[in-house]
């Protein structure tokens, strides 16, 4: 019984962390049709931003929840202004550019921080479920994921900014005619996507550790989640994460991490074959 409770927490955690890591990519891909292969590196930069801020004496919470998204969001805006903005409507070219960017960021991070970085340890200690112990930080990550996804949904749905963003993505010319500056909207959207990714990277860092090439471990999984989710940003990411995270974690527990990974990938194939437009292409249509 205790074990079941523990496993349930782990499954929810797997879902939450996958959703948290993917939502930034979902915004950038879903709204702008930019395939950001440097997504893993944005996560990595979030981790480094938090570590450095923490080393300068900021509390770990400020470093993770405030500094990391601001820093990575700023980097995102710089990237959008210098590289991505020239490539709208050329999905394939953004792929090459962001692949180059991903290599560049790995190189730059290695040059600045070296390969041996003192990481962050997970705060909050651990708690007991009967005979078992697990990390309290797990619950914190789940909480952050819920807040972030809820926040994105609320902004898109209820604020003027969300309305403008959705309008611009659907028809940039029409939005421009109505007095919106599409370039600015793109910039802000990309910046927000990057900031959320930075936040996710920082929040995950104490669990997974951080080093320059860690992005490669995440980018494919996030990408598959976003595509599997389909057109709706929040609903799609949540639905796909729930499916993939649960399949992965349960298969991992029952067999080995390799089969867990393979089960996730196989689930993705079956999903896309059954629902060629992603989950929200079929269900929850028109949701956000």
């Amino acid at each position: 019984m205790d074990l079941v409770a523990l496993l349930a927490i782990q499954v929810v955690y797997a879902i939450a962390s996958l959703a948290l890591m993917s939502v930034g990519l979902a915004i950038i891909f879903g709204m702008m049709k930019v395939i950001n292969l440097a997504h893993g590196e944005f996560l990595m930069l979030g981790g480094y931003a938090a570590i450095e801020a923490n080393r300068f004496g900021l509390s770990i919470w400020v470093a993770m929840l405030i500094v990391a998204p601001i820093v990575v969001g700023a980097i995102g805006i710089i990237v959008e202004r210098t590289v991505i903005r020239w490539l709208y409507g050329r999905m394939i070219d953004t792929m090459l550019a962001t692949w180059g960017l991903s290599l560049f960021l790995v190189g730059l991070t290695t040059a600045i921080f070296g390969n041996t970085t003192v990481g962050l340890s997970a705060p909050l200690g651990s708690f007991e479920i009967g005979e078992y112990r697990t990390s309290t930080y797990t619950l914190f990550v789940i909480g952050v994921a819920i807040v972030v996804l809820g926040g994105v949904l609320a902004v898109l749905r209820f604020t003027k900014l969300g309305l403008i963003a959705r309008g611009t993505m659907q028809n940039a010319n029409m939005a421009a005619a109505l007095g919106v500056n599409p370039n600015r909207v793109y910039s802000i959207t990309f910046g927000v996507g990057a900031a959320l990714t930075g936040l996710a990277g920082a929040v995950i860092a104490p669990v997974s550790g951080i080093f320059p090439t860690i992005g490669a471990a995440y980018v494919a999984k996030c990408f598959i989640t976003v595509i599997g989710g389909g057109a709706s940003i929040v609903m799609g990411t949540t639905a796909a994460s729930t499916l993939f995270g649960a399949v992965n974690q349960i298969a991992t527990y029952v067999t080995t991490p390799v089969f867990g990974e393979v089960a996730l990938l196989a689930a993705a194939i079956v999903l896309i074959r059954a629902l060629p437009q992603g989950i929200t292409g079929r269900f929850f249509r028109g949701s956000l």
Binding site: G100, T110, R273, Q277
Partner: protein
């Protein structure tokens, strides 16, 4: 000059360059250059396979490395078991082709297209990578070939002249074989694309609905293109397994998949010579940067040895400055120079 004459001139030029590489490289350079050129030629065959599938067939396949890797592993496993290379070579082409035919049936008859197709092929590649990567234990073997997991299979015997087990192909022989393969693949694909089949697949790429209304079934054409591409990639994989006498799971990895796409983008989609140039150029650049790594340097000098930093910056600059890829851009310049005169003479 008419377009047709220009085209003929281009083909002749490429044939001359190809033959020149074939004859002159071993004659002019040391063995190390010959060996490097060999692997570039092999990878260029791989680049050609994606140039066909994506550049002409319009199928964004993120998993060309799956077929490459399958070809390499099939050859390795069959060769270790059989010891004579005729059957392994044929299997290395057939197995990836059959796999692609199955996968393609699943994809095209499931009407999966666009970015979803990219994700499916990527996912299949990652499944292969994960599965092969976890076969390090002694219990994983096919016949007498141990799969070896992360370490892969080292010491694969080289190709021999078909049916003559003792006539192994030596290092220079591999160079001639690889270069000749590339030249033949290039002209073979040119012929294929000039045929009725080739024009049909380009027509489907341009407008699938129109092709369908005209009575073509896009699914079967796409499936055929996909399968031919996989067979080519498998052949390249077989050559690669021969070049280094090893295979390891990284040939299925994300980095390898992305690299093939980059060769095609850099060289230019919708051309065949472009991806060859892109492939050789990037391979050369990667090796050249790594070969001159400064050691123990500090400050900005250390940056010169930072391969990902430099390679990444070059790729980003490339997309911004040469957006169409090398060959179409150069082609555009050439057209600017030639067109006025061509117009005058008409």
């Amino acid at each position: 000059m008419s377009a047709r004459a220009l085209n003929g001139l281009g083909l002749a030029l490429i044939a001359v360059v190809g033959l020149a590489v074939l004859v002159l490289v071993p004659w002019l350079f040391d063995l190390d250059v010959v060996l490097n050129v060999t692997v570039y030629m092999i990878m260029a065959v791989l680049a050609l396979s994606l140039a066909l599938v994506w550049g002409f067939g319009g199928i964004l396949c993120f998993g060309q490395s799956a077929f490459f890797g399958l070809g390499a592993y099939t050859y390795a496993i069959a060769m270790v078991n059989i010891g004579e290379s005729t059957a392994p070579l044929i299997l290395a082409i057939l197995v990836p082709a059959a796999f692609a035919a199955l996968l393609g049936y699943f994809i095209f008859y499931g009407r999966i297209s666009d970015v979803y197709l990219g994700v499916i092929t990527l996912t299949v590649t990652l499944i292969l990578f994960n599965s092969i990567n976890s076969t390090a234990g002694p219990e994983f073997h096919i016949g007498s070939a141990k799969l070896g997991g992360f370490n892969g299979i080292p010491g694969i015997p080289s190709l021999n002249v078909p049916f003559f087990k003792d006539w192994q192909i030596d290092l220079e022989g591999m160079f001639y074989l690889s270069t000749a393969s590339l030249i033949l693949c290039y002209f073979g694909l040119r012929a294929l694309l000039a045929s009725r089949f080739g024009r049909t697949i380009v027509g489907i790429r341009e407008n699938e609905q129109r092709a369908q209304l005209l009575g073509y079934d896009p699914r079967i054409y796409k499936l055929a293109t996909f399968t031919i591409g996989a067979a080519l990639a498998g052949y390249a994989g077989c050559l690669f397994a021969n070049w280094g006498n090893f295979v390891s799971p990284t040939i299925f990895g994300l980095a390898q998949s992305a690299q093939i796409i980059i060769w095609v983008i850099v060289g230019g989609r919708g051309t065949l010579i472009g991806p060859i140039i892109g492939c050789v150029g990037i391979q050369w650049l990667t090796a050249a940067l790594g070969a001159n790594a400064p050691s123990g340097a500090a400050g900005w000098q250390a940056l010169l040895g930072n391969v990902p930093l430099i390679l990444g910056a070059i790729l980003v600059a490339f997309v911004l400055l040469v957006p169409k890829g090398l060959v179409p851009t150069i082609g555009g310049l050439e057209a600017l120079l030639i067109r006025p005169r061509a117009g005058a003479s008409r």
